[in-house]
């Protein structure tokens, strides 16, 4: 280790060379958790949960739709949080975390939109209506895409970090504004003609399935983000000795396999 490990126990992991192995060790556990919970959730959703009285079987989309929608919003908040931490404390790792989160957030956003659209066709008769919640979800996707496009378009990593952090924060300030404005806009024009028809008196099994799936997607996010951030750390820290050692180990592993 080139740098001495300083500081209290938790902050120690803010140093990339400590975080890197930790991430490597944690990720498989989260991935395993995600698989198990997904299986449980699907079992609850498809086997235990009863057919919905009004919607029939279509409602089973809910077991991914709602967790995906929740995750997509939650991930943006986390992203903005790490960006703020990065800007204030000037820790490179935080920027990396927010950049590693973005693609997954965008992915969940697409999933929520897609499943919502597929769900909308049989229930509302159209794949898309300009409802407040749908619209703000679409705008959230644009916020993600803007963040990703901006950080990709900038070559200099330090500039990319900071520029991305700024736009993530600006976006975060705007998320509630967007949400409420869209909501108001829609109710002004539409009245109640379109609203999310909540499954009446959601059965506890349904709720349980949804919650299990939500935790599963949370675990999945952690796993995939940790996996994604690891090569990013290597890339950034490539001039340090510990990355050199890590790469040698990696080369040996590859050589051994070949």
């Amino acid at each position: 280790m080139s740098r001495p490990d300083r500081g209290p126990s938790i902050l120690r992991f803010a140093a990339p060379q400590n975080f890197y192995p930790l991430a490597g060790r944690l990720a498989p556990w989260f991935a395993g958790l995600a698989v198990v919970l997904t299986l449980v959730g699907l079992w609850l959703g498809f086997v235990v949960a009863p057919t919905d009285a009004t919607q029939g079987e279509v409602y089973r989309v809910i077991f991914i739709h709602v967790p995906a929608a929740w995750m997509s919003m939650f991930i943006y908040l986390v992203m903005a949080f790490w960006s703020a931490v990065g800007l204030v404390m000037n820790t490179r790792l935080s920027f990396l975390m927010s950049q590693a989160l973005a693609p997954t957030g965008a992915m969940f956003c697409v999933v929520a939109l897609w499943t919502g659209a597929l769900w909308g066709k049989p229930t509302w008769g159209a794949y898309w209506v300009w409802d407040a919640r749908l619209t703000s979800q679409a705008l959230l996707l644009f916020l993600y895409l803007g963040f990703i496009a901006l950080t990709r378009a900038i070559e200099d990593p330090r500039r990319a970090d900071r520029a991305g952090a700024i736009i993530a924060l600006v976006g975060a300030v705007n998320v509630p504004v967007i949400y409420f404005s869209v909501k108001w806009w829609n109710t002004l024009h539409q009245g109640a003609s379109v609203s999310l028809t909540k499954a009446p008196s959601m059965a506890t099994t349904m709720l349980a399935g949804m919650l299990v799936m939500a935790i599963a997607s949370w675990a999945y996010t952690l796993a995939v983000v940790l996996w994604r951030v690891r090569p990013m750390i290597l890339e950034r820290e490539r001039h340090t000795e510990w990355v050199g050692a890590e790469l040698m180990r990696e080369a040996l592993r590859q050589g051994g396999r070949a």
Binding site: P50, E57, W119, V224, R238, V243
Partner: protein, 76 residues
């Protein structure tokens, strides 16, 4: 148990397209994301290994290149 048979299960009460369309796309996207993540890892490691070989052990340039200068033009 809700389902009379497998075919009833796959049919999803007539909503097969919507339900399975949702789940298929979701899992396809997740699979794609995982593939991309691991591919990126492999690419990065290979690229960095190549880079290290080119630049020298510590990322600091080996003696020969340092002496030759950045353009390979010897500096007197």
């Amino acid at each position: 148990m809700q389902w009379e048979s497998w075919s009833a299960f796959w049919n999803m009460g007539g909503a097969a397209f919507y339900v399975w369309g949702s789940y298929c796309l979701t899992f396809a996207l997740i699979a794609l994301e995982l593939v991309l993540v691991f591919q990126r890892r492999k690419d990065t490691v290979n690229r960095l290994l190549r880079w290290r070989k080119a630049v020298g052990r510590n990322g600091r340039g080996n003696e020969q290149r340092a002496a030759a200068g950045p353009n390979g033009v010897a500096i007197e």
